[in-house]
Amino acid sequence: METNGTRENYEVREHDVLIIGAGGAGLRAAISAAERGFSVGIVTKSLLGKAHTVMAEGGIATALGNVDPEDGWRTHFMDTMKSGKFINNWRMAEIHAKESPDRVYELEQWGALFNRTPEGKISQRPFGGHTYRRLAHIGDRTGLEMIRTLQEKVLATDAEVFMETTVTKLLKKDGRVVGALAYTRESGKFIHFKAKAVVMATGGWGKIFKVTSNSWEGTGDGVILSYDVGAELVDMEMMQFHPTGMVWPPGVRGLLVTEGVRGEGGLLRNAEGRRYMEDYDPEKMELSTRDVVARANYTEVQAGRGSEHGGVYLDITHLGYEGIMKKLPTMYHQFKNLADIDISEEPMEVFPTVHYTMGGVKVDPETCASTVPGLFAAGEVAGGLHGANRLGGNSLSDLLVFGKRAGDGAMAYIEESTHSVDIDEADLQAELRRVLEPLEKKEEGESPYLLQQELQEVMMEHANMMRNEDSLKEGLGKVLGLKDRMEKISVPGSRLFNPGWHTAQDVRYLITISEIIVRTALERRERRGAQWRLDYDGPDEDLGKINFIVTRDAQGEVGIERREIEPMPGHLADLFEEAKV
C-alpha cells in the first residue's frame, strides 16, 4: 500500500469501558458499569433496540419453578450439559443455571412484563430439551421486551451510545486491548475509542449461510476482531440449525418460526401426514433438542416426504384463532402478511435454518475475560456455555447472566490497572488506509455483495447440517479462493452511508470465520450435537473430552489445538450419577 503522507482525520473518544454491540449482553454489561459510575461507550452497527436480541421469540430459560415447582438450577444445569453433549464449559453452565432467576427478576424490576400464572407469578412455557416448563415469556416477542427494557434502562444512565458505528480493529498496547478504531456509517467519519477495557458483545455469524434467521448484522465482527488480537476461540465447528424456518415465499426463506409453536403443542408432519418424530425421538417427539429435530426435518425432505415447497408441516391449528392470538400473535401476522397463510386454519411449511453459533471467544466463566488482557466477551460471540447444541431459551438468559459478569469483570480489571491507552499515530493511520482502500481503488474490482453471496452458497453446499471430509475439503478450497479475491474488492461512491463499503468490511469477517469453521469441522471426526459427520458413525469417546481451540498462529494462519476438557468437580458430576439411579 502506498503511503503518500496524507493524514486521515479522526475523532477521539475516551471511556473507561467500551462495549461493542448493543444486544442483550452489551446492554446488560453497560448497565453494570454505568450504574457504578464508570464512563461507558456503547458502539452498535444499527440503531439502538434493533440488535438481534429483538428477534428472540420464545422466551428466557430460567428455573424459577413457578409452574413446575420441582425445577431448580440443578435440572437446568443438567439439561444444558446434556444438550451440549458435555463439551460445554461446566462452570459456565452452572453459573448460568444458578444466576438466571435473579437476572430475570431484575428485568421485571426494571419494567419488563411477562405473561402471568393464575397465582400472579411469571408464567413459564415448555421448550425443547428442557425437563420442566421453564421459559419466561411474553407471547412470542420476549426478545423485544428484553431489549426495550435494557435499552430504556441504558438511556436512563450516562452511557453514551454510538449508533450505526462499525468497529474495524481492536487496538492493543503492551499486550493489552486499549480501545478500538471505528467509523460512523452515516458520515464515514472515523473515531478512535480509547478505553481501559473492551467488552465484546457483537453476536453471531449466521450470515455466512444463505438460508438463515439472522439479519444482515450477523457477520461475526467481534469474533474476528478478537481473533486478530490473539484471543482464543472455542467450538467454532458448532453452528446451530434451527429446525423451523419459513420456506415460502423465497424472500423470507430462513425466517424464524419460533420453537414456541412446538412449545404450545405444534405438531410436525410429513407429506404423508405422519408424525415422523416418532422415528427420531419417540420420547420427546416435537420437543426434542434442536439438533435432533432439525436433522429429522431435513431427512424427511431428503427422503421425498416433503411439502409442496420443500419443507415439512408444522401444525398449530388446534389452538384456534383466539389461542394463537394470545400465545403466538407474531407468528400469526408473519405468516398472514408474508405468506398468505392463516396458521389457525392450515399448517405452516418449515425447514431448518441457520440460527446460532455455539462457538466463539473463549472466556473465563467468572469474569468473561478473554485470553487477551483488557478484552471481555459475552453473549453469542462468546463460546463455552452451549457446547455442541444450545437449548432454546438459554441464549436470552446467557445474555443477561454473562452480560452482567462481563461488565463486572471489566470494572474489576480497570480498578486493578493503571495502563496507558495511547496508540502510535502510524498504527492508526495504517488501519485507516486499509479500511478506505476499497473506496479508493480506481479500477473495477470484486463486488462485496457478490462475494458474500458466493461465500454463502459455498457454506450451504459444503458446511451444512450434514458434513463429510471430501465436501469440507472442497469447501475449504473454495473459501480460500474467495479469500484471495477479497483483496480485489472495490466499491463506488463516497463514505456517506455507503452500504457497499460497509459490506466490504463484513466480507472480511465472513470469509475468515468460514475458513475457521470448515477447518475445525474437518478436525472433529464424529457426530456430536450440531456437528454431524456422515463419514463417521457416531460420537467418539475421546473427542467427547476435547474442545478445539483456535488462535491466529505466528504466520497469521488458523492454528487449531485439541484441548482436554477439565473434569467436572464432584458436586456437579454427582448430579448425573444420582440421576442414573
Binding site: 421485571e108 426495550r148 415465499p249 420443500g310 455483495y449 460420537p539
Partner: protein, 284 residues
C-alpha cells in the same frame, strides 16, 4: 456419561446420506417478469427519483426489490434494515407517500408506479435513510419505570393484559413520521409524538410504577395537548396498536383530570404543588 446422552442422537433410522442442501422443489421461486421502482437518491442537499428495474420474484416485498437493486445495480444505495420480518422496525420508509415497513409490503399489491422515499418528518441522511436520532433523545427525557417495590412482583393477568398492546411497539417511528404535529408543524422540541405516548401509556398503567409523568406529558416536552386525535398514527402502526384510542386519549384524560379539574385546581392553590418530579403524589 457422554455416551448415555449421545444415544438419542443416533436414532436417525431413516437418515438419507445426501449432502445436498436444497429442498426438493421451488427454492428459488418463480420469476414473474420484472418490476420497476422509483427510488429517491440524494442527501440533505437534495436529490431525485431514479428508476430501476429488477426481477419480480413471487411473494417479493419492497425491501427485496430494493436490496436486489443495491446488490446488482447501485452498491451505494443507502437503506436501513435488519430483521426482514417486521419485528425490528428498521426499514421504515414512504412508499407512494405512505409510511411503510418495506419488509412487510408486497410489491404485487401496487398497481402502477412504486415510489420509495425516506421518512419525511426527519432530516434525510442519504437515499432511503433518515436521521431518527431525535427519537432517542425524547426517550432519554422520559422518566423510566420507577418503583419502590421489590421483584418478583405479584401481578395478575387481568392487571397487565392491557399493557401488552403498547408494549408491542417496535419503534419503527412511522407514527412519528405521519403525525402532522411533527411532519407539518415541526414541534419536535415541545412534542414527544405518538410513539412516546404509547410508552407513557404502559408506564402510567403498570401496577408497580410510581412515577408521575403528567407534568411531562402536558408541558415538559410531552406536549400531548398538540394532538388533535386525527388517528393518522393508528392507521400506519405496523403492529396494530390503537395509539389514539388506547394510548393518547387515556393520557389526555389523565392530564385533564389532573390540571383542569376545578376541585384539584383549588386544592393546588391551597396546598401548593407537590411532587413535581418523580413525585409520589398525583394530587389526589
Amino acid at each position: 456419561m457422554s455416551e448415555s446422552t449421545n444415544g438419542t442422537n443416533g436414532t436417525n433410522g431413516r437418515e438419507d446420506q445426501s449432502l445436498a442442501y436444497a429442498p426438493v422443489a421451488g427454492t428459488e421461486g418463480a420469476k414473474r417478469g420484472t418490476t420497476k421502482l422509483k427510488i429517491f437518491r440524494g442527501d440533505a442537499e437534495g436529490g431525485e427519483f431514479v428508476e430501476y428495474e429488477t426481477d419480480m420474484i413471487e411473494g417479493m416485498v419492497v425491501l427485496d426489490a430494493v436490496l436486489n437493486i443495491q446488490a446488482e445495480q447501485a452498491p451505494d444505495l443507502a437503506v436501513r434494515w435488519n430483521c426482514k420480518a417486521a419485528h425490528c422496525g428498521s426499514c421504515s420508509a414512504e412508499v407512494n407517500g405512505r409510511p411503510t415497513l418495506m419488509c412487510k409490503q408486497r410489491v404485487n399489491e401496487y398497481e402502477g408506479e412504486i415510489r420509495v422515499q425516506p421518512m419525511q418528518a426527519f432530516p434525510v441522511i442519504k437515499d432511503l435513510v433518515s436521521d431518527v436520532s431525535w427519537n432517542y433523545e425524547v426517550s432519554r427525557s422520559m422518566t423510566p419505570f420507577t418503583t419502590s417495590q421489590q421483584a418478583p412482583f405479584t401481578m395478575y393477568e387481568e392487571d397487565v393484559e392491557r399493557l401488552y398492546e403498547p408494549k408491542s411497539c417496535i419503534e419503527c417511528f412511522m407514527c412519528q413520521d405521519v403525525c402532522h404535529v411533527l411532519r407539518t408543524h415541526h414541534k419536535h422540541p415541545e412534542f414527544a409524538g405518538p410513539r412516546f405516548f404509547v410508552r407513557g401509556q404502559w408506564l402510567e398503567m403498570h401496577p408497580m410504577d410510581e412515577a408521575n409523568r403528567l407534568e411531562y406529558l402536558k408541558d415538559g416536552g410531552g406536549g400531548i395537548g398538540y394532538c388533535n386525535i386525527t388517528k393518522c398514527c393508528t392507521e400506519v402502526c405496523p403492529v396494530g396498536i390503537k395509539i389514539t384510542d388506547n394510548s393518547i386519549i387515556p393520557l389526555k384524560e389523565r392530564v385533564a383530570d389532573e390540571y383542569y379539574d376545578p376541585a384539584k385546581w383549588l386544592m393546588r392553590k391551597i396546598r401548593g404543588r407537590k411532587g413535581s418530579r418523580n413525585g409520589s403524589s398525583n394530587g389526589g
